[in-house]
């Protein structure tokens, strides 16, 4: 029997399960305890698991992310919630210079079994400093794995394998998804998903739309509109941004012979650019048209709604980009 859950509830359930199953797991971050989580992901956890395991931190992103790395090295399995990707810039040194490099620098002596979760993305009129989509930056770094759950199934199922991973995993949760609802099976043992592969979310034959995170629903909406106009779009959800599932990207593009990459990051130096490069490297001769992309415009994200909407990828822009390939 299936049940309906929101993305928020799915993530909360995944964390609850991890905390209940493994005494080494604990949650730390700003306002995860008494406040119940900035986005209510950990509501009620403090009462149930206590302040040692549901650990409110000061506004010290560098300090508490570094402390989580140390705790992981010391035998714990921390889930560290950095409220948003915007604030993760304050912790970037610890994530990049310590967590990602530690195993290599130590010649394989130490691993860092750390999970960092953070909200990403724009679309809620939060203006320039609260609207970043920087998962592409993180995906640049060897030594970490980068996940972008875009469905209820992934919100529920990615955390357990991330915690089981011996190396640092960074999970990006798009803020526009938290109230999205979907179906999940009741049986608990079915809920873990793989954190290795991309997944086809809509099967099509004429164009591959490759995307992730908050842009998945926009890509699916665009695919719906295109279907009405006789263009069959396949939608690939990358899910795992590092390491990229190059084989899945190549397979979809080889099949459809046209591709549009949709990425909420800015175009220059984007993850979209990396996906396009892999298409060139692997399936260039299968293409019937140059690969196109829809990214955020090269401007800080504005506050006013009409401008914010204009700055971000939208279904209409995706439709237009796809049609451009058939012109």
């Amino acid at each position: 029997m299936s049940r309906t859950l929101s993305y928020r509830e799915a993530m909360r359930e995944a964390m609850h399960e991890a905390l209940a199953n493994d005494p080494r797991v604990f949650l730390m971050g700003e306002d995860v305890g008494r406040y119940g989580g900035t986005y209510a992901f950990s509501k009620g956890f403090l009462d149930e698991f206590g302040p040692e395991r549901i650990r409110d931190t000061p506004l010290s992103e560098l300090g508490f992310v570094g402390a989580a790395i140390g705790a992981a090295l010391g035998g714990m399995r921390p889930i560290v919630e950095v409220m948003t990707v915007n604030f993760s810039l304050l912790a970037l040194d610890q994530i990049v210079n310590t967590a990602a490099l530690y195993r290599h620098m130590s010649g394989g002596q130490f691993s860092v079994p750390l999970v960092v979760r953070m909200t990403t993305g724009a679309g809620r009129q939060l203006a320039a400093q609260h609207s970043h989509s920087l998962e592409g930056w993180y995906a640049h770094i060897p030594g970490i794995k980068v996940l972008a759950p875009a469905t209820i199934e992934d919100a529920r199922g990615m955390l357990a394998p991330a915690l089981a991973d011996p190396d640092p995993v960074v999970i990006f949760e798009h803020a526009g998804l938290f109230n999205m609802e979907g179906e999940l099976p009741d049986t608990r043992d079915d809920l873990t998903v793989d954190i290795r592969s991309a997944r086809v979310r809509r099967i099509g034959t004429d164009v591959a739309i490759i995307t992730h995170g908050g842009s998945l629903s926009k890509a699916l909406a665009a695919a719906g509109q295109l279907a009405a106009e006789g263009i069959s779009a396949e939608v690939v959800d990358l899910r795992v941004l590092r390491p990229l599932d190059t084989a899945a990207i190549a397979a979809a593009v080889a099949k459809c012979r046209r591709a549009v990459v949709v990425d909420e990051g800015w175009k220059s130096g984007s993850l979209a650019a990396e996906v396009m490069a892999r298409i060139m490297e692997n399936v260039f001769y299968e293409l019937d048209a140059p690969v196109a992309r829809v990214c955020s415009e090269e401007v800080p994200i504005p506050y006013a709604k009409h401008l914010e909407d204009a700055a971000l990828p939208q279904p209409e822009k995706i439709v237009a980009a796809v049609k451009g390939l058939f012109a």
Binding site: A71, T98, S106
Partner: protein, 339 residues
């Protein structure tokens, strides 16, 4: 505020230790000195490359402090950490092989001089980002606390790190959460070429630490007796209170910051004055005066140190290179290997 760049008065008073223990600590300082002198020579010969930060002059700090800690404790160090690795128990040959970039080094040549790690002796690096190790030590102490372990975390860092946000965030977290961390500040008066008073509005580092509501002690880092006794007190306080303590070791580096440093920022007379307080010769003179060390014993331990260095160099010279086919190793943990 200007601070006194003069060396402290020479250490005085009786050495409160049995001869064996005292001579053992002296021997460790000599081992470090000989290893470092050889490293500088090998750098000149092109055998060691990259950055090389020497600890010469500061030996009393690592030796005196680390001998006050237990083998179960966790150690976090900086990029000037050859001494800490050696005193902690890493073989000199392993250190030397790592600096040569050899497969037989502690990180198979992946890390070099600045990244000495040793799981066996609980040495968590070797961190080349100033201040980068402090949050790590806080987390190691948090893990110990959450798992009801008795171990503490000792974190070494320089005066330069005190200007980093990581210093302030870490001291606050450790005090706020009552974590067993020993913060060991090796104040050698310069963050690379910038004197402390040119980077700090408050140059009394104990005042800074104390503002985070933790005990802050000061030790003469040129006097191994003071270093060890103060650290012993500090370690005891950390263990008993399960809360952090800060220790400032006032010391001085006799050599350049790294091998690229022309030392334009400090007067030669200042360096010479501090050298008269060198931790090895002042300590050995005291021991001799007290009849706890003979010249023959000193020559013997020095010869042993030189022999150990020669063996380490021979080991590194005979070492192998990690095959390029293994280049991508150790980015991630292999399947089935527990972290």
């Amino acid at each position: 505020m200007n601070i006194d760049h003069h060396a402290p008065p020479p250490p005085a008073g009786p050495v409160p230790w049995q001869s064996d223990f005292a001579v053992g600590l002296l021997a460790d300082m000599v081992r470090i000195r000989r290893m470092e002198e050889k490293s500088a020579e090998l750098y000149g010969a092109g055998k060691i490359r990259g950055f090389l930060h020497l600890y010469i002059g500061e030996e009393a700090v690592a030796v005196g402090a680390l001998h006050a800690l237990s083998v179960e404790d966790n150690i976090v160090a900086t990029y000037r950490e050859h001494a800490h690795a050696l005193v902690r128990g890493m073989a000199m040959s392993t250190i030397m092989a790592e600096m040569y970039g050899r497969r037989e080094g502690c990180a198979h040549g992946r890390g070099g001089s600045m990244h000495l790690f040793d799981k066996a002796t609980r040495l968590f690096g070797g961190n080349a980002i100033v201040g980068g190790g402090l949050p790590l030590a806080v987390g190691l102490a948090l893990a110990a606390k959450m798992q009801n372990e008795n171990r503490i975390a000792a974190c070494f860092f320089g005066d330069g790190a005190v200007a980093e946000g990581a210093f302030h965030e870490s001291l606050n977290l450790a005090a706020l959460w009552k974590l067993p961390v020993l913060f060991c500040c090796e104040n050698n008066l310069y963050g690379m070429g910038t004197a402390l008073e040119r980077s700090e509005s408050q140059t009394d580092l104990c005042v800074k630490a104390a503002s985070y509501n933790m005990p802050a002690l000061r030790a003469d880092g040129m006097d191994i007796v003071d270093v060890h006794e103060i650290t012993r007190q500090a370690v005891q306080r950390v263990r008993e209170s399960r809360s952090p303590v800060f220790v400032e070791y006032q010391t001085y580096r006799f050599r350049a910051h790294s091998m690229f440093d022309a030392e334009l920022y400090r007067p030669k007379a200042e360096v010479e004055e501090w050298k008269t307080r060198g931790p090895i010769h002042t300590f050995s003179a005291r021991l001799k005066a007290e009849g706890k060390l003979t010249e023959e014993q000193f020559l013997a331990l020095d010869a042993a140190a030189n022999a150990e260095v020669a063996d380490a160099v021979a080991f590194a010279e005979a070492g192998t290179w990690e095959p390029v086919e293994d280049l991508l190793k150790d980015v991630h943990t292999p399947e089935g290997v527990a972290p």
